[in-house]
Subunit: 325 residues, 2 copies
């Protein structure tokens, strides 16, 4: 009987979920705290969720499969994982939600809505400032599930969509042009720059001072991927100088406390606390997904959305400073 | 030589604009204050802008044409205007901008962005709350230039769009179904309710307690038309009780100070100060439009976007309390 250890990051498992997993034939344990996870790790064959993954990996001698709750998992690929070599699967089931969140963030910036709500929160009247024209050209950096869905939404609004990905191939329903290495040459005509790419050795802090200075001053930046794609110091410098219309950031990993403080004080910044995939019934949908994944696994099939992490040039957060490009 | 009196609401006329109008053969005066407008009124044949319209109408003996700077002009149709009977033209040149603003407001509400920025303005951390599912059904109340453009944007995002207008006819590119009198029956499946209708005797406070209670609790309301379409007391009651996901209001005319105060304190409310049509180069675009309208007028042609105000059941704000439906 396979021992399943649950350690979800977002919410504890529901009773119905636990019953369902037991009904599939799983021997289910729940780790609501780090010490429980560490104590349970040696017997676990499957980790559902990744909350204490780094801490439990050294003791997880029977580990065969990790089902992450995240859409992108590059932050989980640490040396200890490579050493253990379990199956690793993602949960890319909220790509459409993240794409809508990114779109909402971009439109809020260009219409000055974040600044107006910030002013009201501070006890001042709503503001009328509109920092940008209507968007005509959007660049979507990263054309995975999220980027493709976002590209389709933007095209539906009549925008020209410049997709960026490594392979230079993309779905024509999701973008007008796909750019591999030449994307920087097009920044001068970008109204909205959306970051939807995985964090790898190649994309670490790729949105740097040089990139930001190539954007028009009315452009807005939206990041729903990983904070470490962005040089937050360079971004804060430019926002404070009014060099951009604004920035919307769902992720701030990699930013220093000082950089976070500077961004947090700016009215033309929209921040959400890594909640781009949230929905009122998100946990319910996630539990249904995990149940189907576990069903496959226990039936001897391979679960969906396997990450081929040995073939990628992912950043190794446990391995010291992130590499320079 | 036609005497043109400029009284714009948004910004003073540029020097280039004044030169252009003089070059067309206009005898141009600028009223930057009410007393100037009143002093100039008796000689003016044309009012460009409507800032002091109510005050100057009684003395405007030679008035032949009023070019409003507004998209919708029902608030200008007062008894003194009906008495004078000048040509009245609208400036519906920012319908697309207002539609984008409305869309941005709706998406900000359902993704909790306004509340997150409000919290930051108040010195609290950004919030993660997402009050609504992704939108599937939008109702667009009023299918004029703004409503049609908004309908096209929403359809581009894959939403089902229920248009509402009096005639029951609408452009199929802008909505899936058009509803005349039966619209209330469909409120139970509406995720986003957008108000884009003119204010008339029939639409005065049409969004009342009964309508709000027919909406799902996750629905969001967006008003970019006229405040008097909405019963703000009923709206504030429901928002305070968490009965709706939120409301985004670009207009608050008709709301009492107490109602404004209540709405202003709510984090899940997005307010903008009648700036839905704003753009960085708005005044420039508006001046080009006015110049073309004046050119037509001085050449003996009828300017565009004439309002047939005698045929409409417009509210008469100068005539005492607005009528009940």
């Amino acid at each position: 009987m396979a021992r399943l250890l649950i350690m979800y990051s977002t919410a504890p498992p529901s009773d119905g979920h636990l019953r369902h997993l037991a009904g599939l034939g799983g021997d289910v344990r729940v780790a609501g705290a780090e010490d429980v996870a560490i104590a349970e790790a040696p017997e676990a064959e499957v980790f559902l969720g990744h909350r204490y993954l780094w801490q439990v990996l050294p003791r997880a001698e029977r580990l065969g499969w990790v089902q992450s709750s995240a859409h992108g998992v590059t932050h989980l690929i640490v040396p200890a994982l490579l050493e253990r070599g379990p199956l690793l699967t993602r949960a890319p089931i909220f790509g459409d939600v993240i794409a809508w969140h990114a779109l909402a963030m971009g439109l809020a910036l260009i219409r000055g809505l974040g600044a107006s709500c910030f002013a009201r929160g501070a006890g001042r009247p709503p503001t009328a400032s509109v920092p940008a024209p209507l968007p005509r050209v959007a660049m979507v950096f990263g054309m995975g599930e999220i980027g493709r869905e976002l590209g389709r939404l933007l095209k539906g609004l009549g925008c020209t969509v410049l997709g960026v990905n490594r392979s230079g191939t993309a779905d024509p329903s999701a973008c007008d042009t796909v750019l591999p290495e030449t994307w920087r040459e097009h920044l001068g005509r970008v109204d909205l720059l959306f970051l939807c790419a995985p964090l790898t050795r190649r994309t670490w802090r790729i949105i740097d001072a040089e990139v930001l200075d190539l954007l028009p001053t009315h452009a807005a930046l939206v990041n729903v991927a990983r904070g470490d794609l962005v040089d937050h110091r360079a971004l804060a410098d430019r926002l404070e100088a009014g060099r951009l219309a604004g920035a919307a950031l769902d992720v701030l990993d990699g930013a220093t406390d000082e950089e976070r403080g500077r961004l947090n004080r700016l009215p033309d910044v929209v921040l959400t606390p890594h909640s781009a995939s949230f929905l009122p019934n998100r946990q319910e949908q996630f539990e249904r997904f995990v149940e189907e994944q576990v069903r496959r696994y226990l039936a001897g099939q391979t679960p969906l959305h396997v990450v081929d992490y040995r073939d990628q040039d992912y950043v190794l957060p446990g391995g010291g400073d992130p590499p320079r490009r």
